[in-house]
């Protein structure tokens, strides 16, 4: 039944998409489309959640279209149900936000038809149960999101982002296509059920795992395949950015989990090591680059890269444990990764909503031109602050819980037999701690420069609070951040059937643990209790406030800024985002960044203005994509000659290609 409801929701999304085109001349199109998307997403969310919490038996459904022999297969198991929950939760809240935010769109018809189709595509990817359906919906997801990225196509930066995104998306799909080819083998069993039943040879499984890591990793944003992400995500309208960053990257994670954990079967320890290391490096490089950004949305997009890294650390650990038959530890690591999937979709959507609100209120995305918004947008400021605290992994909010679970999984690693893994895992743990600490620095900067201090421009001075629907969407997510942070046991228990299906074991059941604590492993005595921590914080805060009000004087005087006696009236004298990041830029600068700093200080007596120029390059462009682009250009120049051959030569080429293919097929059989 649940599978039918999910597919019915997909059909309804498509219907809304068509309706949006029909309504193109009506001004009410925006509320109708987003309202309908909200209702459909909420229904799909409720149905998937019920399926996940209920029996969780895989529901199958086949449509008689698609590949001739297998048709189109759909399957709703626990993993799909969990990702449907994530996708549709994000979809529902984003639609609610867009009910308010969408009114500020100056060309709504560039967004409205694609928006429901994008949601439908993400649902379809999660439901697909054969390679053809998976790839078609994956590519459909890429194309609809590409159209959404190009909504503001007049800006040159958006055009560039769109073309880079298109290239990277095609490349990713290409890799996944090859991975399916390897898994299906020469007989071409493209249904997932066939692949599951026939485990690949070790060589094929390694090849397929690498191809999926590249293919799904390029969509999710693993370093060095992340370069499109900080360009494309901020270019879209903010509610679409929230979907791209908060939800679509999770669909990519789903693709990775589905193929590597489910279809390939038993992994090798080294695949775990590779995923783990890539995850750790992605986390640190993502957050370091986020720290260097001064565009709020781009900072958030780079931060998505970091969180994807954290998720992949969990997945890599799960692979390593699974390869060594430590299924209980694999369940812990997988649950940690999936918990972070849910958490990141919640707080990243929240932060993008906040950034969108700032953009609407000030028409300014560069935080060096903002400041002081806490006075002018008090409700957005509170919501954004809680999002910042959650993403910085501060207790008692939800980001901390998933990182804590990941750390607990890392602590099991001494029991791994491989020395390489034993040494790599604590190093990755240190990388994770570094990423968490840098994330806190990054969000002190993001919140401090944007919302605190004095306004740096008239636009920031004149900002006002956004509409109530947008604010409501933000507070819904704030409530979720807090709820999953203080009651993590509920989420962990919900994830039990997913872990059971993928690694064959589950974390200890949390519902029976006294005081609603969570315990990672039955035999360890580690535990964490967000609820008690929150209760303690409330108690000690209240006690402190009461003591202060009882014993201290309440006398308060408003006065000018003190600043050691030398306050400067100009808001330009404040710390900016770049100056905030300067110590970290200097500490890590020689290793990670390509920083170009030029100070032009006039000598004594000179009357001209001084200048400071700072440019930060992403080394991925210099070391990976620059050489590739040059090689492609050189090859294209060489191949130009092929355009001017005689008909005889063309026929010879075709003949040779045919022979070569036949030889390959014969050799493969």
């Amino acid at each position: 039944m649940a599978a039918e409801i999910a597919l019915g929701c997909v059909a309804a999304f498509f219907a809304v998409s068509v309706l949006a085109i029909a309504l193109s001349r009506i001004s009410l199109a925006t509320p109708i489309v987003y309202g309908a998307s909200l209702v459909i997403s909420a229904a799909a969310f409720a149905s998937a959640l019920a399926h996940l919490a209920g029996d969780g038996v895989a529901a199958m459904l086949a449509l008689p279209v698609g590949l001739p022999t297998i048709g189109t297969q759909f399957r709703l198991d626990a993993l799909s149900a969990f990702f449907l929950v994530v996708v549709n939760l994000g979809g529902a809240v984003t639609s609610l936000y867009a009910l308010g935010y969408g009114r500020h769109e100056h060309a709504p018809m560039r967004v409205l038809p694609f928006y429901p189709a994008f949601l439908a595509a993400m649902n379809l990817v999660v439901l697909a149960d054969d390679a053809f359906a998976f790839l078609v919906s994956w590519e459909f997801m890429s194309l609809t999101s590409w159209a959404l990225v190009l909504a503001h196509h007049q800006e040159p930066a958006t055009m560039r982002a769109g073309s880079i995104y298109l290239v990277m998306a095609s490349f990713g799909t290409f890799c996944i296509l090859l991975a399916f080819g390897v898994l299906a083998g020469a007989d071409g069993g493209y249904a997932f059920a066939t692949m599951r039943a026939a485990p690949p040879t070790p060589a094929a499984s390694v090849l397929a795992a690498i191809l999926v890591l590249i293919g799904a990793g390029s969509k999710a944003g693993l370093v060095p395949l992340h370069v499109w992400l900080p360009l494309a995500h901020p270019a879209a309208p903010s509610h679409v950015s929230a979907l791209l960053s908060g939800v679509m990257t999770k669909v990519a994670v789903y693709g990775f989990i589905r193929i590597v954990f489910d279809l390939i079967g038993k992994p090798t320890p080294w695949s775990g090591l590779v995923v783990l290391t890539v995850g750790g490096l992605t986390a640190v490089i993502g957050v370091l680059y986020a720290l260097m950004q001064h565009d709020l949305k781009r900072l958030l997009a780079y931060h998505t890269v970091e969180n994807i890294g954290i998720i992949f650390i969990g997945l890599g650990l799960a692979l390593a444990f699974r390869a060594n038959e430590m299924n209980w530890a694999a369940a812990l690591a997988l649950t940690a990764g999936l918990f972070h999937v849910l958490n990141h979709s919640i707080f990243k959507s929240l932060l993008f909503f906040g950034a969108g609100a700032v953009l609407v209120a000030t028409r300014e995305g560069d935080m060096e031109h903002l400041g002081g918004l806490i006075h002018r947008m008090p409700q957005t400021a509170v919501a954004f602050l809680i999002g910042c605290a959650a993403i910085s992994a501060l207790p008692p909010l939800n980001g901390f819980v998933s990182e804590w679970l990941t750390f607990q999984a890392i602590l099991v690693s001494p029991q791994l037999p491989q020395l390489g893994l034993k040494l790599a895992v604590p190093a990755v743990g240190a990388l994770l701690a570094l990423a968490a600490a840098l994330a806190a620095a990054c969000f002190v900067k993001a919140f401090g420069v944007t919302f605190l201090g004095r306004p740096r421009t008239p636009a920031a001075e004149a900002a006002g609070e956004v509409d109530p629907l947008s604010v409501a969407a933000m507070y819904l997510l704030v409530a979720l951040c807090l709820a999953t942070g203080v009651l993590p046991g509920l989420v962990i228990d919900l994830l039990a059937p997913v872990a059971k299906g993928l690694v064959g074991d589950v974390m200890p059941r949390q519902a029976g643990v006294p005081w609603m604590s969570i315990v990672p492993i039955a035999q360890s005595r580690s535990s964490y209790n967000g609820l008690i921590i929150l209760a303690f914080l409330i108690c000690s805060g209240t006690l402190t406030a009461m003591t202060i009000h009882r014993f201290a004087t309440r006398a308060t005087r408003r006065s000018a800024i003190w600043d050691c006696g030398y306050p400067l009236a100009s808001p330009a004298a404040q710390y900016t985002g770049s100056s905030f990041a300067m110590p970290i830029r200097r500490v890590f600068g020689t290793i990670v960044f390509h920083v170009y700093e030029r100070v032009d200080m006039p000598g004594p007596g000179a009357m001209r203005a001084g200048a400071f120029r700072l440019r930060v390059f992403d080394p991925a462009w210099l070391f990976v994509y620059g050489p590739i682009a040059r090689a492609v250009g050189a090859a294209a120049t060489r191949l130009n000659r092929l355009q001017f051959l005689t008909i005889r030569r063309y026929l010879t080429l075709v003949f040779c290609a045919l022979i070569l293919l036949l030889v390959v097929v014969a050799a493969w059989r």
Partner: protein
Amino acid sequence: MALIVELALQCFQMMLVVALAPLVLGVTRKVKARLLRRIGPPVLQPYVDLWKLMHKEAVIAHNASWLYRVAPYVVFAVTWVAAALVPTYATDLLFSWSADLIALVALLGTARFALALAGMDVGTAFGGIGSSREMMIASLAEPAMLLIAFTVALVAGTTQLSSIAAIFINVPVGLRVSLGLALFAFVFVAIAENARVPIDNPATHLELTMVHEAMVLEYSGRHLAMIESAAALKLIAYFSLIACLFFPFGMAAGDKNATALGVGLVAYLAKVLLLAVLLPIGETSVAKMRVFRYPIFLGGAFAAAALAVFLLFVSRGF
């Protein structure tokens, strides 16, 4: 009845740290003054200072937001909870399982987050410089701190502070190289986190050298009192952590009768006071560092902690 006793013991620990924190600060200042051949303020001076600050009017800049006024309460409350969750005189108190070592580090991170934001609220250059440097130091100290947690957890088999202390008391773990390295790294991290010499100077108001003091430059009156007592609480939390993780002897680990609790309390007071004497001795024997030498200092801590972890991976006997 048993529950009430348990609850009372937990509350006593909570009150103990908050009452003791200014005294520890006073002892540190007194010893430091004596080492510099000054007489120094009385040991109880921090209590008097706090009382005085609480009765002065709070001067707040015109453009300060609610965050500026709320932050001291958040910082104090969070630090207090963190300090109260470290086992001091007894293990296995009622709520000792609600946060482990990792959660404790993260709680202190919450306090730092709030304080760094407060430093940026008014929009001054000093506040920004303090916040920015504080976050830089934290980002260097936290990986080292986590590897220390790994080391201890690998030896004890859990990250739960109370269980770690109980294991170290009851099971003879002996003198271990890894724990020695972890202690070495922990002292470095504690110095950096508590803004002591050579990372920061708590006594200075010399503009460009300060970190913590720059962040809280605008604060006055009761708000400053809260922040100062939060800093004292953080110091005692780190002292308690050293006592609990590395020198847990004397702590009441079995059943909680009056004698065992009394011994535990005396041992705890002795350990904390000893650390309060040792800290200024260390401080007066080194000079304050330049800002961009911090990575070397904390890199040393990180290297020691990493070495401890890797030794444990080579052999559980180290």
